[in-house]
Amino acid sequence: MQTHRAKRVEITIEAVMQSRLTDALTKAGVTGYTVLPVLGGSGRSGPWSRSGQVSRASGMVQVVCIIRPERVDDLLDAAFAVVERHIGIVSVSDCDVLRAERF
């Protein structure tokens, strides 16, 4: 099966920043992404869980984008402008996709 190289960008960010991030991505021409709920985890502020949060203030979401390698810098510039001062993780990894024309 023919596959094509692509970049997978995972941005784990506070739920309150989700719409700002996806708006910035859309403005940068990145129209394809997936938003996933984050159930819980542990970081510099200690462990936390999605259940029992009375406020969206402490919830997290993950935004996943798969794009062509040559577009990854534009995406990261747009994402970084939003997430720079916030809690979160941005990671980039290589992946393969089946239908290159979709990315």
Binding site: V16, M17, S45, P47, S51, G52, A57, H86
Partner: protein
């Protein structure tokens, strides 16, 4: 004093408070008891709808007068003013940095709708009447405190602040809680007693049971916050979490008496002024002041001030309001 102790005793052994205590105890004991996120959200939607609707029905029954407008204005002024006092007190008592102090102060100008709901439940069970429009005052007090906090940060040079943009302003003014509370208030106002009669079996009878379950969840969250964030609260910060609601309640008392509110209305104005937000303001602070410490303001408002108001504050405010109004 006897009346205060009696009221405090009755309050402490009510199912509502005991459910909250159960939640705190279960959380501190590291039990796996939890209320699923969607259920907790459903319970809060129910409570906001019920309290807004009943407030609107009360206004429909008693009509509107200048007091309503003045009470709304008083709520806005209180919400904008209380953060300035909280900020000064924090800087004086705790030497907290400007950014954290402003973020914490915003919480103390805004309100806790669950504390308000619990207070109305206490007033209802004691047969103390209150103005239905106090629900609208609660909604009006959500946002101005956030603007005051951002002004405090900007005045100090603005370091750490991303300021207020249109998106944030829209999120604050149209957050789901405010829309539901105000919307159900207007529905209750428009449909009046007839509307209430149609749905009373849904929003009146089960109300306290739902409130019990919601407070069980709040207890779990507060206990978790205390367990995980308690270590960052120094004695002076803890003292602020108890002192500020008392100061806020006295200022609220002054406004309520000046407006000529009923005994129940005075108590609710004191509760609103004493309570600290843990839903709308933390979300706004994460966007506008991302470098302020969220553990600090969430633990203070949810782990210290909320339990204080729920257990001791509400009976105190009700007793004072009755003593002042002679009711």
């Amino acid at each position: 004093m006897d009346q205060l102790l009696s009221l405090a005793g009755q309050n402490l052994i009510s199912p509502i408070i005991l459910c909250f205590v159960l939640g705190v105890a279960a959380s501190l004991a590291r039990s796996d008891l939890s209320i699923p996120e969607a259920v907790a959200k459903g319970l809060s939607i129910y409570l906001l709808f019920a309290i807004g609707f009943k407030g609107g029905v009360s206004v429909a029954a008693h009509g509107i007068d200048a007091t309503l407008g003045l009470a709304l204005l008083a709520g806005v002024v209180l919400s904008a003013l209380l953060p300035l006092i909280a900020f000064a007190l924090l800087r004086l008592m705790t030497q907290m940095n400007r950014l954290d102090a402003a973020a914490v102060a915003a919480h103390y100008g805004s309100i806790s709708i669950v504390t308000f709901v619990a207070a109305t439940s206490v007033l209802d069970s004691r047969g103390v009447a209150y103005e239905g429009f106090m629900v609208a005052v609660a909604a009006a007090m959500e946002a101005p405190a956030i603007l005051s906090a951002l002004w405090l940060v900007a005045k100090g040079g603005g370091d750490g602040s991303k300021g207020m943009d249109n998106a944030l302003l829209r999120e604050i003014m149209l957050n789901g809680s405010i829309v539901l509370l105000v919307g159900s208030f207007f529905i209750g106002w428009a449909t009046g007693e007839d509307g209430l009669a149609e749905i009373s079996s849904f929003i009146v009878s089960p109300f306290k049971g739902v409130l019990c379950l919601f407070l069980l969840d709040m207890g779990l969250v507060a206990g978790r916050g205390l367990r995980e964030g308690g270590k960052i609260l120094r004695p002076a910060v803890l003292a602020f979490g108890v002192l500020m609601p008392l100061i806020g309640s006295v200022i609220g008392l002054g406004f309520a008496v000046a407006l000529g509110l009923s005994s129940g209305g005075i108590a609710l104005m004191m509760v609103l002024s004493a309570s600290a937000s843990y839903i709308a303001v933390p979300a706004a602070m994460r966007v506008a002041l991302p470098e302020a410490n969220p553990s600090l303001y969430l633990t203070l408002s949810l782990g210290v001030t909320f339990p204080f108001n729920l257990t001791l504050g509400i009976p105190l405010y009700v007793a004072v309001s009755q003593a002042v109004s002679g009711g």
